[in-house]
């Protein structure tokens, strides 16, 4: 089971949309995941427990050792499929 942390400004709105799209995409592709949400400010303290960080806003709140994917495309629609593929590929590694 891979663990994905989705972060946005206050961990309430855009991360909810992104987390849902990631769950759906992973299910379609047979990738078992748990997806949790948090605020960007909480990322640094939580990231160690996860395999992948996905953010909507820009992550500048410190350093993390896990891969980071920016998922603004899941809100704007521009390049959405490519971003979802990228997330699935990263989780299959």
């Amino acid at each position: 089971m891979k663990r994905v942390l989705v972060a946005c400004g206050n961990g309430i709105a855009t991360s909810t949309v992104v987390a849902t799209k990631i769950r759906e995409k992973c299910e379609e592709n047979g990738v078992a995941v748990t997806v949790n949400q948090c605020k960007l400010l909480e990322v640094e303290s939580k990231a160690d427990d996860y395999d992948l960080l996905v953010t909507t806003g820009k992550f500048t709140g410190g350093t993390v050792t896990i891969p980071v994917i920016t998922a603004i495309s899941l809100l704007t629609g521009i390049g959405e499929d490519a971003t979802l593929e990228q997330i699935v590929e990263q989780l299959k590694k």
Partner: protein
């Protein structure tokens, strides 16, 4: 949970110069209607300063400001059509400006809640034809019709 929305929550904002001016007008309107608490405006402005919500759609750009649920009395949406467009900061690159024509303020009462509504808003943002209908509409009834189609009938 129901989301309150009607024509009284649609604002046409003309000649605004800054994102702060636009957001303050929207927050004051919501506060006057009792939809949000008087702490809401400051929460929105702080949130926008720290984590901006401008989305560059490569078409008609949209901003989706929102604040913590503790400042809200009634779940609703507030829409502002800006003429001319006003610069917001980009969510993914806060140092970049995004020239925004449409602001959809998400007035949420449940953390992680309202998922369907959020997804529908994102669906609307991604459909530039309908975004164009909103910003070129002559009257608020036409704007309401497009938004209702996404939120209530989709």
């Amino acid at each position: 949970m129901a989301i309150a929305f009607d024509q009284s929550l649609i604002l046409k904002v003309e000649h605004a110069k800054t994102d702060t001016e636009v957001l303050t007008a929207m927050c004051n309107h919501l506060c006057d209607k009792g939809i949000v608490k008087d702490t809401y405006c400051q929460a929105i402005l702080e949130r926008e300063a720290n984590f901006p919500t401008g989305l560059n759609t490569h078409g008609i750009n949209v901003a989706i400001p929102h604040a913590d649920v503790c400042h809200v009395n009634t779940a609703s949406l507030c829409v502002a059509v800006l003429n001319p467009a006003v610069d917001f900061h980009a969510m993914d690159e806060p140092e970049d400006a995004v020239s925004v024509h449409l602001v959809i303020m998400l007035v949420l009462t449940e953390p992680h809640g309202h998922l369907e509504m959020l997804q529908k808003i994102v669906g609307l943002i991604q459909n530039q034809e309908d975004v164009k209908k909103i910003i070129t509409a002559e009257d608020k009834g036409a704007i309401e019709a497009v938004i209702r189609r996404y939120l209530l009938e989709a």
